[in-house]
Symmetry: C2
DNA sequence: CTACTAACATACAGGCTGTATGTATGCAAC
DNA sequence: GTTGCATACATACAGCCTGTATGTTAGTAG
């Protein structure tokens, strides 16, 4: 047991306080929403005062960004843990998408990452975060599939973004009670539709 | 010219005031965001007081819902106007998606309908609105394509939702400065990938 | 040991939301 | 038409929240 008011270095204090604030905020932001959660409530849950919060974060939005960042990293880590390294390109994509949908079932994650995140931080900021974490894996999987000729060649960034958007919407729908099987079926169909079985019909450019 | 304080029926007054409030709110919500727009600013722009607002709408969120509803209807109408009635199923889908992307270029529409809308009203409410307007056309187009055997049979609701999600993300990306051509190419590839050229490889259900 | 700085806590100002209350106008019945 | 009620507002108020400014304690460098 450690006695109260142990002597701690400033670095330790900062780290601990920041972690406490992020953890408390994460809990409240996922239970309720960003707008419905006030900073007085957050600091009370973290056991500090608003002074500490505004010392460590520029504003409420910056604290939110830190929470989103951490949660996106957690999702990415769950996916990487679930998807074995070397598979056929298509199987790796499917394993990854299943892992993503599973990870997004954690309570409140969809609202945090898919609803409040884009609205509060903007799509650009969310893209930047996603590309540093979860989307990286997806993008690499797509590049690998194209290189292995298991997928038609397409602009990679756009394809990554659009598939990610479909995954996101699927996660939201499943959480809202839709048939997970239906959505999984369609996701697989969209992915398999990109296989190069036949020469693609000449696309009328205009 | 009509003299001031003309005698108007209550129904006319209500309709005019509601329309003024919605128009003023729409302008501000699209120029800034929902969170950054205060009710004092809205009523000032509409030329009434906050009393009128809270007489006609339950709260700020209800006014926002009315704005979103109207804007979604406007988008749907632009699409229907742009897409000729009888085409081959695939061409109709492409024309519709182009029309959607064009309609979403109106200033502030993406934030209103794709960012703030889901965050403030929730995905369920936005789905309900979308299904009453824009998504109806998409869904019918998909059903027609499947019936004409121009598209593999898939769960229609899930497919509609996921394609709509992809369109939405494309609209956001294009507004953020991404290559519209790239996104259009990928969207077409996703749609064409659903054509039944070959028997689909046996999907391992698990 | 001294001086400076980081890590907080406390106090304050401004703004916003929603509600309660007051007032004038349309409207319906007699 | 006037009496009475409901509708359409305007005004006033209470509570909360955010961000900042200021004060205090604890670490840390010289």
């Amino acid at each position: 047991m450690q006695q109260k008011s142990v002597r701690r270095s400033n670095r330790d204090r900062t780290e601990a306080t920041r972690a406490d604030l992020i953890a408390a905020a994460r809990k409240l932001f996922t239970e309720k929403s960003y707008a419905e959660t006030g900073t007085p409530e957050i600091v009370a849950a973290a056991g500090v005062t608003r002074g500490a919060l505004y010392h460590h974060f520029a504003d409420k939005q910056a604290l939110f960004a830190a929470v989103v960042e951490q949660e996106a990293a957690a999702v990415a880590e769950e996916i990487e843990r679930a998807s074995p390294p070397s598979l056929f390109a298509r199987d790796a994509l499917i394993a990854g998408s299943d892992a993503y949908l599973a990870a997004m079932r954690a309570r409140g994650r969809t609202r945090l990452l898919l609803l409040d995140g884009p609205a509060v931080l903007g799509r650009a900021a969310m893209d930047e975060i996603d590309n540093r974490h979860g989307n990286r894996t997806l993008r690499e999987g797509l590049v690998a599939a194209m290189r292995a000729q298991a997928m038609v060649k397409l602009p990679v960034d756009a394809l990554t973004a659009l598939l990610a958007a479909a995954f996101d919407r699927a996660a939201l729908a499943v959480e809202a009670g839709a048939s997970a099987d239906d959505y999984r079926t369609v996701l697989m169909a969209l992915i398999d539709g990109l296989s190069p079985h036949q020469a693609p019909r000449p696309a009328r450019t205009r």
